[in-house]
């Protein structure tokens, strides 16, 4: 066990997978000598060489498509998109191609591809270095969508992603890269893609979140426990697609109250699906409306600090929302 940051855990996972399986390679912009603009691949070029850690041309569509082709040929590509905001040029390759290949080929061709990309706001990145893009992809059957919120899960889930025979979108909360720390085993463990994780048990209200917001939700839950005696359960969804319905329903059935937190803009964000599931399948257990706390419906997060903070969901806003709903 070592205490490390989220990004160190990701680097460790990639290092181990490269060492374990010769079919694993990494490509993306600046992943080579530069070690990635966030340093997620630092040292891997030196260790594994230019054949396995490849600086791509500046073209996301092809980063993904090369990954798809190589995956169909049974290599195990890890493709890095430098910022989630730049995944959109590759949208067709992900949605029409990677996601549908297994289905359209009647199960003959599979695409064991991992696409890693940092997402989310609060780092002074403005409209094009702050986006949350998970909800677009959580709508696409055939994809798996994973977002870790702890270094332990980051390592274990990334290893699962690399070994998964399906295309996995692996979104990394970049604000947490260095801000989130935790214990990480040095062993070769995996965390399965699929099951959510109860980040904090509680009886009064269920808070559903993922990524940086799961981290913040735990902080908020501790705060309202301390200050208001509210016992909030925090469910870290971790895998957005396929969604762990059971975990969501179990928690709501226990607490009767549901708050869904995400930093994306509100409308059609991932919380809409969580809320819809609850409103259908846990309706009889609800003691109050299903609430969503999310970013405002504006095109993207502004750069100026004042506006960024207005946009960002944070522990205080979560705590306030917990208090409101608990009081309902």
């Amino acid at each position: 066990m070592a205490n490390m940051t989220l990004i160190e855990a990701l680097l460790m996972a990639m290092d181990e997978e490269l060492a374990r399986d010769e079919r694993v390679f990494i490509t993306g912009e600046d992943v080579g000598k530069r070690g990635g603009v966030f340093r997620a691949t630092q040292g891997l070029y030196e260790k594994y060489g230019a054949t396995r850690v490849i600086d791509s041309p500046l073209a996301e569509l092809s980063i993904v498509a090369i990954g798809i082709g190589a995956a169909m040929a049974e290599l195990r590509p890890i493709c890095e998109i430098q910022f989630a905001d730049y995944i959109h040029p590759a949208f067709n390759q992900i949605v029409n191609e990677a996601a549908k290949t297994y289905y359209r080929s009647d199960g003959q061709w599979r695409v064991p591809l991992t696409i890693r990309t940092p997402y989310g706001g609060g780092i002074g990145g403005g409209l094009y270095h702050s986006q949350s893009v998970e909800s677009f992809f959580a709508h696409v059957p055939g994809l798996k969508v994973v977002i870790p919120s702890t270094p332990h899960d980051a390592k274990g889930l990334l290893k699962s992603a690399v070994r998964d025979p399906n295309p996995v979108l692996f979104f990394e909360p970049k604000k947490g890269y260095r801000a989130i720390k935790g214990e990480v085993p040095e062993t070769d463990y995996t965390v399965p893609i699929g099951p959510a994780r109860i980040a904090r048990e509680g009886r009064d209200i269920s808070v559903f979140a993922y990524g940086m917001m799961a981290h913040y939700a735990v902080i908020a839950a501790e705060k309202v426990a301390r200050e208001d005696g509210i016992d909030a359960e925090v469910v870290d969804l971790r895998t957005l697609l396929p969604v762990d319905k059971q975990a969501i329903l179990d928690s709501v059935k226990k607490t009767g109250k549901a708050l869904v937190v995400y930093e994306d803009n509100l409308t059609m964000g991932y919380g809409a699906e969580v809320a819809a599931i609850i409103a259908d399948e846990a309706f009889e257990f609800l003691d109050g409306p299903v609430k969503r706390l999310a970013g405002p419906d504006v095109p993207a997060m502004p750069f100026s600090h004042s506006m960024q903070e207005f946009f960002m969901v944070n522990p205080d806003k979560i705590a306030a929302a917990i208090r409101d709903l608990t009081a309902y």
């Binding site: 054949t51 092809s62 090369i66 990954g67 190589a70 040929a73 025979p165």
Partner: protein, 346 residues
């Protein structure tokens, strides 16, 4: 570009091979014609045709290691698909979307060729999206060789990746990005553009401001060749050279086959609104099959008896395929739910 006679093959091909090429072109044509008939009869709902493209595709197929090298075809590649090893029945099962359709189990529209066994990749309908994926397949070939995971001389392994598309589809960004990788990484790849002058109704001069698609190769540091796509032997030669280049570490080739589709774009199309009958008739004179037939007859390789024989064989195969496919059951409605995710390995 002579459109009357065929180029003399630079590569020596046995009579047997030449006849096999002829046979594949003929079979493709007859299967294709039957599909149009079935459509007129209301037995199938859609067909997209390879008629006119047979020489380009058969020349290409015979130049690579069929069934081993990766092939990422497009919807017009019926002849190519047959030559690699799929059958008339395979095609008909797809056309009728029946149980046993080996391409997609009835999920995809017809002509979405696929066979994992033969290393034919299942494509989407999104034109050009397969081009950078083919670069990825070629990348994997090179990766395995560089890492010493396979012997580059081992002919049981894929040693190149071939993709086909129409000239219109080269307008897509996917094409640019795919060929750029091919150039930068010197990939064992062939991009075969079947330039039939139109993208549905849009003529090539509304599509690009260059005379030849192959001229664009210079933007990627790869070799570009334009060839008479209605001349199966010229096609074979150019493709053979491209294949050898790929096999020997010489990088990618962009091959442009100048050809013409002799039918409307698909059974949904009516081409009278955008091209003259005279133009179509002009091109029918350059029919790739008649041209090859004349050549083979002149060379004394093909006799009328043999032709009749081939025709009979084709008719039998097409009849049988058609009957079997028509009689086969439709997929169970619940098949809709299968194959969303590949199962985890242990």
């Amino acid at each position: 570009m002579s459109t009357e006679t065929l180029a003399l093959p630079r590569t020596q091909l046995s009579e047997e091979t030449l006849l096999e090429m002829y046979w594949m072109m003929l079979l493709s044509r007859r299967v294709d014609e039957r599909a149009w008939v079935l459509h007129r009869q209301g037995k199938i709902t859609f067909h997209v045709s390879a008629i006119g493209h047979e020489a380009a595709q058969i020349g290409a197929a015979f130049a690579i290691n069929r069934g081993v090298d990766y092939v990422n075809p497009y919807y017009r590649d019926l002849a190519l698909s047959l030559a690699i090893g799929t059958t008339a029945l395979d095609f008909m099962l797809g056309l009728f979307a029946k149980v046993g359709d080996p391409f997609s189990g009835g999920r995809q529209m017809p002509s979405h060729f696929n066979s994992h066994r033969l290393n034919i990749i299942s494509g989407s309908s999104v034109v050009a999206s397969q081009v950078p994926q083919t670069s990825g397949l070629a990348f994997a070939i090179k990766y395995r060789q560089t890492q010493g995971m396979v012997d580059p001389k081992d002919t049981s392994q894929p040693r190149l990746a071939l993709t086909c598309l129409g000239e219109g589809s080269t307008s897509q960004g996917d094409w640019h990005e795919g060929l750029n990788w091919a150039g930068v990484h010197h990939l064992p790849m062939i991009c075969l553009v079947q330039n039939n002058v139109y993208a549905i109704s849009v003529p090539i001069q509304s599509q690009m401001a260059v005379k030849n698609v192959a001229d664009r190769a210079s933007a990627y540091g790869i070799v570009g060749v334009t060839v008479d796509g209605n001349d199966v032997l010229a096609m074979y030669d150019v493709m053979k050279e491209a294949a050898e280049r790929a096999y020997n570490g010489g990088g990618a080739t962009l091959v442009e086959a100048k050809t013409y589709r002799m039918t409307p774009h698909s059974s949904d199309d009516d081409d009278r609104s955008y091209r003259t009958r005279e133009e179509v008739e002009e091109w029918k004179k350059k029919d790739p099959i008649s041209r090859f037939q004349s050549y083979l007859q002149a060379e004394g390789i093909l006799t009328q008896a043999l032709i009749d024989d081939y025709e009979a064989r084709a008719r039998d195969e097409v009849d049988a395929a058609h009957k079997t496919a028509e009689a086969a059951p439709s997929p169970a409605p619940e098949d809709t739910l299968g194959d969303v995710y590949a199962p985890l390995e242990d």
